[in-house]
């Protein structure tokens, strides 16, 4: 990565997580990671995340977690030395730098491994070996990987498939019947059905309450314990106690 930070595109698909992005920014800053400015790096990362926000790009949660952590690190680094912070900001900065060095070292090592003389690409074993007779113990051959993979395959066939239905809070028909029946006792005037609903904030629970209460209202009307009135389809639905 040789581009200046400003020229980095905002395509986060190219990065394997925040650490990868940080390493790219650091590499753009200096070749020797030991000489980079952590404060500058933090600012670049935060600017990057800000720009993503301005462009309304959706950022994975861990980018935001890292941003929050770096914002904390930045403020800790900027505090006067006299102020004791816990943990020590300088130490956190060194550890961040060390992590970048580690990742970079492994990346470099991987590239050097891949560049070695590899069998099947650079060197070749004998094409048609006569083969050696192996004694009876390894007459049958199995690779360890095959053994483990087979176990997964075999158990998958008999493993029960589990369907988990999320436990959701709802208002049952019984509860709606009880509540509506009790409230209707004092309702002499026409009132919309919404007035009879329990006072809940959760939108899903509120829809459940409305549905249950609607069914309860029909049932109460059937029993002669409620009267319903609606001027038009989808117009407000009114309820009241039957006129005696």
């Amino acid at each position: 990565m040789t581009a200046a930070p400003e020229q980095l595109t905002l395509d986060l698909h190219g990065f394997e997580g925040p650490l990868d992005l940080l390493l790219s920014l650091a590499r753009a800053q200096k070749v020797d990671l030991r000489d980079i400015s952590i404060l500058q790096l933090v600012e670049q990362y935060l600017a990057y995340v800000d720009r993503a926000r301005v462009l309304r790009l959706e950022l994975a949660a861990d980018y935001l977690v890292m941003a929050a952590w770096l914002a904390y690190l930045k403020s800790a680094l900027l505090l006067p030395q006299a102020v004791e912070t816990e943990p020590d900001a300088e130490e956190l900065a060194v550890r961040l730098q060390l992590r970048l060095e580690r990742l970079d070292a492994m990346r470099e090592a991987g590239a050097r491994l891949m560049a070695r003389d590899r069998i099947g690409r650079d060197t070749f074993m004998r094409g048609a070996p006569e083969g050696l007779h192996v004694d009876r113990k390894s007459f049958w051959s199995v690779e360890y990987f095959d053994l483990l993979a087979s176990y997964g395959r075999a158990t998958a066939r008999s493993r029960p498939v589990l369907h988990v239905v999320r436990d959701r809070e709802i208002v049952t028909l019984e509860a709606a019947l009880a509540r509506l029946g009790a409230l209707l006792g004092s309702a002499v005037e026409w009132r919309t059905i919404e007035r009879f609903l329990p006072d809940v904030d959760d939108a899903v629970l509120r829809r459940s309450a409305l549905a249950s209460s609607f069914l309860a209202a029909l049932e109460l009307a059937r029993q002669g314990r409620a009267e319903l009135q609606q001027d038009a389809p989808f117009a407000p639905l009114y309820l009241r106690r039957p006129a005696a």
Binding site: G131, H133, W140, V142, Y144, R157
Partner: protein, 189 residues
Amino acid sequence: MSDAYERAVEAVLFAATEPLSRDAIRAHVGDGDVRGALDRLVVRYRGRGVELVERGGRWHFQTAPDLAHLLRRGRDEVRKLSRAGIETLAIIAYHEPVTRAEIEAIRGVQTGRGTLDVLMEAGWVRPAGRRDVPGRPLMFATTPEFLSHFGLTSRRDLPGIDDLRAAGLLDPVDLAFDQLAVENHREED
């Protein structure tokens, strides 16, 4: 002193999966004195453990005939265990001691008589007493040879179910479905 062309001919013949004609050799190493290189290689390998020979205009390396007794049988003697055999072996390793009926319950298919025989012949599985239930079915377990074949110190070294799942070794065919389920039910992990 070996010349570059001779080295190239040597390498191509070594890596070839079948005997090569002079034209085939030339197709690999480019134009040059193939015949001269072959002649020099024959001399170089004469009396060694390996020799360069011509059969019907095609050239190949072979081990010296007088040393054939060291190699004994061909490699086709090593046979791969069948899929049923590997699965049965894996189930015994994870569940031992285990009866044939229990193995079949996990595999979801019947286990042929030959499958357990092969595993016992290979020295990886042994009878391990009888289960105290009606019919007193035979139980099976793995042997120390099984552990050493797979480089395991003990059965505790076998990866657990969670490890297998994490490595993607469970449900290999249902990968997409499985991933979906993981996303919907992160709390299960």
